[in-house]
């Protein structure tokens, strides 16, 4: 289980060369994710979704609050936690000069897998994601869809317990984004926990068990899509979001 408790991240930004100001990217965010759940982190651009998931993935250090995976915290068990998770974002880039096979082998090695198990796993993943055709091609020569499959393969190699997916479908064509959505459904069936951020409300409504809506770094609502729609008396999450933030203005 993932437990996020009052997670806060404060940044400093410079207005000009001398003046600076502090602002909260995320403020006291609390939730938990159980095994086999897909949790959607929803909100517009700049809401604080990426910062939240980066803290959960151990890339950013929280200003306040705590994160635990199966009772382990980052301060004492960073390597152990990172072995349990896979992080994939819309911005995740791969090494162009390596082949898919070399990348997957490197990842397996990093996660402490034995060589024969890595080989077996690479073949399994290649079957699942239909990668045999380009397994030995350099990543720099692959199409966007193929690269996205390699990215997913990279996450699957060590069979993680938790997936952290930050806007993983943003900017992808319909086929590539469907690959990711199918992958999430399959992993959920295996009992994996997925934290998934997006600003595509319809996508989240279809796939997520529970949703956490964030705006300006704060949770504005949390619950199942059905609960949120009932609470806001709307028919979809998009309308629910706008209702909660009191409509939209050009100034925002």
């Amino acid at each position: 289980m993932v437990e996020v408790n009052k997670l806060t991240k404060k940044f400093v930004r410079y207005k000009n060369k001398k003046e600076k100001e502090e602002f909260y990217a995320d403020k006291e965010i609390t939730f938990e994710a159980k095994e086999g759940e897909i949790i959607g982190i929803l909100g517009p651009n700049g809401a604080g979704k990426t910062t939240l998931l980066r803290m959960i993935a151990g890339i950013l250090e929280p200003t306040k609050g705590s994160i635990s995976f199966d009772g382990l915290n980052y301060k004492d068990n960073e390597i152990e936690i990172k072995q349990k998770i896979a992080y994939l974002s819309g911005n995740t880039k791969l090494y162009d000069t390596l082949s898919t096979y070399e990348l997957l082998k490197m990842c397996g090695g990093i996660y402490g897998m034995e060589d024969k198990n890595i080989e077996k796993r690479i073949q399994e993943i290649s079957d699942i994601l239909n990668m045999h055709k380009f397994l030995y091609n350099r990543i720099g020569t692959l199409s966007t869809g193929q690269t996205q499959r390699v990215n997913i393969a990279r996450c699957l190699v060590h069979d993680p317990k938790y997936y952290i997916l930050d806007e993983a479908t943003t900017g992808l064509d319909i086929i590539s984004s469907q690959i990711i959505l199918d992958f999430m459904k399959q992993e959920k069936q295996k009992g994996k926990t997925i934290l998934y951020s997006t600003h595509y409300m319809e996508e989240a409504e279809n796939i997520c068990d529970r949703v956490i809506m964030i705006n300006n770094g704060e949770v504005i609502h949390a619950g199942t899509p059905k609960e949120i729609k009932e609470d806001t008396q709307t028919t979809n999450l998009r309308d629910a979001f706008f209702k909660m933030i009191g409509g939209v203005s050009i100034e925002e």
Partner: protein, 382 residues
């Protein structure tokens, strides 16, 4: 969990050897070493072996005797006669290399101290010594004295214990400076690419999500750059040795001189190259990892190329020799110790001090970078 250092190093080396720019830096930069060695040899040759016809046009502002004319002819001196004013004008116009005026028994060599005039002056000093010897012999014979007994009252003979190795040492020392510069230039690109470049490409974020200690990431990157620097250094050394063998047969200034590095010099040169590669790679990575962009890192690293070269060059010019204190001063220590090795004055203490001080500097730099890689600053530097 076992260390991931080997996985990171393998990744770094794969990227390094598959990147055309990194390969070019590693393998093409050493090609400049033979060009520099041959170029410098040609320059020395041109300075030392100047043809007499390039500086033999001498103006004489007086009537020469037949004896003087014969000596001048034998010495291949081209005589230009005229009065002082005419000769001065010709000298100013560059038509003659210098001119001689005479006041009684006093001969004056008129010159401006330029390179050509120095050669001409030297030629004329030999000419006047020959003429003076002729006059002295004549005078002694006229006074019934044996010239051999008077002129050779003492004899001086030079016994050359060891042939001067000036050019060979000079070229070898500069060749080593060029090797250091080549190592520096070749280290800057992969160091930039593996830090600021990896951040800019977005792959560093991926790397930081892996269960890898920041120490392993940094040391893996550092070793990758160091290996590439050592390869450049060793290729440069091999090319320097080959070019010294070639230049020995091409230029007369090396006649009778041993231009080869001795086996012990080669062994120690490789040691200095390895230590320097560790040092410069650590320094490049530390500077590049604090830069926001690839371009900024490249700009920050450019001065290193000059810093790697100038202290050594100044030390050569000033004739500075190695001391224990200088052995711990970065950059200058590597060149001075190599000069010692080349001159056959190997001092193990200085070599140990160089190696130990380099390890200390790298450790300090690494403590700082590893701390950087633990924090988010390395990813989101602003």
């Amino acid at each position: 969990m076992k260390s991931n250092l080997w996985n990171i190093l393998k990744k770094e080396l794969r990227e390094l050897f598959r990147d055309k720019k990194s390969l070019a830096m590693m393998l093409i930069i050493p090609i400049f070493i033979p060009l520099l060695v041959i170029g410098m040899s040609a320059l020395f040759e041109a300075q030392v072996s100047k043809d007499v016809e390039e500086y033999n046009k001498i103006g004489f502002a007086y009537e020469m005797t037949d004896v003087e004319k014969n000596i001048a002819k034998e010495m291949n001196i081209e005589i230009i006669n005229g009065n002082e004013e005419e000769l001065k004008q010709q000298y100013d116009d560059g038509d003659i290399d210098l001119y001689i005026t005479k006041d009684g028994n006093k001969y004056i060599i008129n010159t401006d101290g330029s390179d050509t005039s120095t050669y001409s002056s030297s030629l004329m000093e030999t000419y006047f010594n020959t003429y003076k010897q002729y006059l002295q012999q004549n005078y002694l014979q006229e006074n019934n004295l044996n010239p051999d007994e008077v002129l050779n009252i003492i004899t001086v003979e030079e016994n050359m214990i060891e042939q001067d190795n000036y050019f060979a040492n000079y070229i070898k020392n500069y060749a080593f400076l060029f090797i250091m510069m080549a190592i520096t230039v070749s280290a800057t690109y992969p160091a930039t690419d593996t830090t600021a470049g990896e951040r800019e490409r977005g792959t560093l974020e991926t790397l930081l999500t892996f269960p890898i200690k920041s120490k392993d990431i940094i040391i893996g990157k550092f070793l990758g750059v160091t290996i590439s620097s050592i390869i450049t250094g060793v290729i440069s050394l091999v090319l320097a040795i080959i070019s010294l063998i070639v230049t020995k047969n091409m230029f007369s200034i090396y006649e009778g001189i041993d231009t080869m590095f001795s086996p012990i010099t080669i062994v120690f040169a490789v040691i200095v190259i390895i230590v320097y590669s560790f040092f410069i790679s650590g320094l490049c990575i530390s500077i590049a990892s604090t830069s926001k962009t690839f371009k900024e890192a490249q700009s920050a690293l450019t001065p290193l190329t000059f810093i790697s070269f100038f202290p050594g060059m100044i030390a050569f010019m000033m004739g500075i020799t190695t001391t224990p204190i200088l052995s711990i001063i970065p950059f200058i220590n590597f060149t001075l110790i190599f000069t010692d090795i080349n001159n056959g004055t190997i001092d193990i203490l200085n070599i140990v001090l160089m190696a130990v001080s380099t390890i200390i500097y790298i450790s300090i730099v690494f403590a700082y970078i590893i701390k950087q890689y633990k924090s988010e600053k390395v990813l989101f530097t602003k």
